[in-house]
């Protein structure tokens, strides 16, 4: 297991991260999803060892921060939204400055990734656009051959072209089955095709944690006339949306359950799951 979260809780002021558990084996992509403010970044800070959990354990490749911090840090690559590198300094120098702390840093690899991402190594860090700064961070993280890549909301600032490239790189990264990726995002479109595991949190609590096929088994998107949809057990309907031409509802699915013939049943995308669950949460709170 490259990442094990065991019942991790953390109080952050009024906000609480509550009892999160997740196992990510070697060679897979974990999508950390949830609306803005759901605690994704805080959870990433916990996984990065920047925050210490109040209870529960966080293990990276079986190691804990308390015992083997340096070993862990050598195998984690990060892309965060913060602009953390030195302004007024070239990309190459920036890479060398911080790369020298890493056991496996390779300048050749670093330069190769800069080239691949169309970044001029002589450019100054502060002259880069937001998206380019993320690309640079990504190139830097790959330069020391980490085992676990942790990416916080990376795709929002990428142009569509690089976005494709980015996911290609992630696929290559996990291709040999020894390395894994954690990517947090509220844009789930790309994850539908890529993610193997999903950790879906809202308000600091787990909505779903497990492999994406299990998620797809757990929900169905049902469309049809309202009275037909009402035939489904009430507690199974997560949220229902009535439109002029029919009703759409997200329901929890049971294997081999047969739906009414006149409703259309589809496997929801991550986006659809998130949309309906968020609606329910909001509805629940206002009551």
């Amino acid at each position: 297991m490259l990442l094990e979260l065991k019942d991790v809780s953390k109080r952050l002021g009024k906000f609480h991260i509550k009892n999160i558990s997740m196992d990510l084996p070697d060679g897979y992509i974990l999508g950390l999803i949830g609306p803005n403010g759901s605690g994704k970044t805080s959870l990433i800070h916990l996984i990065l060892g920047l925050y210490k959990p109040n209870s529960g354990d966080i293990l990276i490749d079986g190691k804990s921060y308390a015992d083997e911090e340096i070993a862990i840090r050598n195998m984690i690559g990060t892309v965060l939204l913060d602009e953390m590198f030195d302004d007024g300094v070239s990309l190459l120098s920036n890479g060398i400055r911080y790369g020298r702390y890493y056991e496996n840093f390779s300048q050749d690899t670093f330069e190769a990734y800069l080239e691949r991402f169309n970044l001029d190594k002589k450019r100054k860090y502060n002259k880069l656009s937001k998206g380019e700064k993320l690309k640079f961070q990504f190139a830097f993280s790959l330069s020391y051959n980490p085992k676990l890549l942790i990416l916080d909301e990376p795709t929002g600032n990428f142009d569509p072209e690089f976005r494709k490239e980015f996911f290609q790189v992630l696929k290559e990264f996990i291709a040999d089955g020894t390395r894994s990726v954690i990517v947090s995002t509220h844009l789930t479109e790309d994850l539908d095709k890529m993610a193997d595991y999903i950790l879906y949190i809202e308000n600091g609590s787990t909505i779903f944690s497990g492999d994406i096929e299990k998620l797809r088994d757990s929900y169905r998107l049902v469309t049809g006339e309202n009275y037909k949809i009402n035939l489904i057990d009430k507690e199974r309907i997560i949220h229902k949306e009535m439109g002029n031409y029919g009703t759409r509802a997200l329901v929890t699915h049971r294997p081999r359950y047969t739906y009414d013939k006149e409703v259309t049943v589809a496997i929801p995308t991550l986006e659809e799951v998130m949309y309906f669950v968020t609606k329910r949460e909001k509805g629940g709170r206002s009551k």
């Binding site: 060679g27 897979y28 992509i29 696929k171 996990i174 291709a175 089955g177 095709k193 890529m194 993610a195 193997d196 595991y197 492999d211 994406i212 096929e213 797809r216 088994d217 013939k261 259309t264 049943v265 589809a266 496997i267």
Partner: protein
Amino acid sequence: MKIVIQPQGTLAIYEQIVNQLKNAIVTGELVSGEALPSIRALAGDLNVSVITTKRAYEDLEKEGLIRSVPGKGFYVCEYNTDYLMEKQLVMLEKRLAEVIGDAKQAGLSCEDVKEMVEALYNN
């Protein structure tokens, strides 16, 4: 061997893979003892998650159509084509029955359905 994934389908992607591999076995496109592409390679080619192809292979393995050789990969099992064919037929019958039920509800006669089937079959 060709596998086509329809993203908007009501069938889960792993089910689509399972069905198409089954068909390939029934039609003899995949013969017993033949090696299947690795889970990761297939996921890459089809542009789907690794876990999805993994699940498809696991399902096929459960049905006894393929077997995994640790450290090597997946291979097509020795199987009884007739038995498989039978199974496929049962499934087809079930799906046809559903369609005919729908056709009856729409007020179509047997002749109408036959015509429709013929037209589609020759298409």
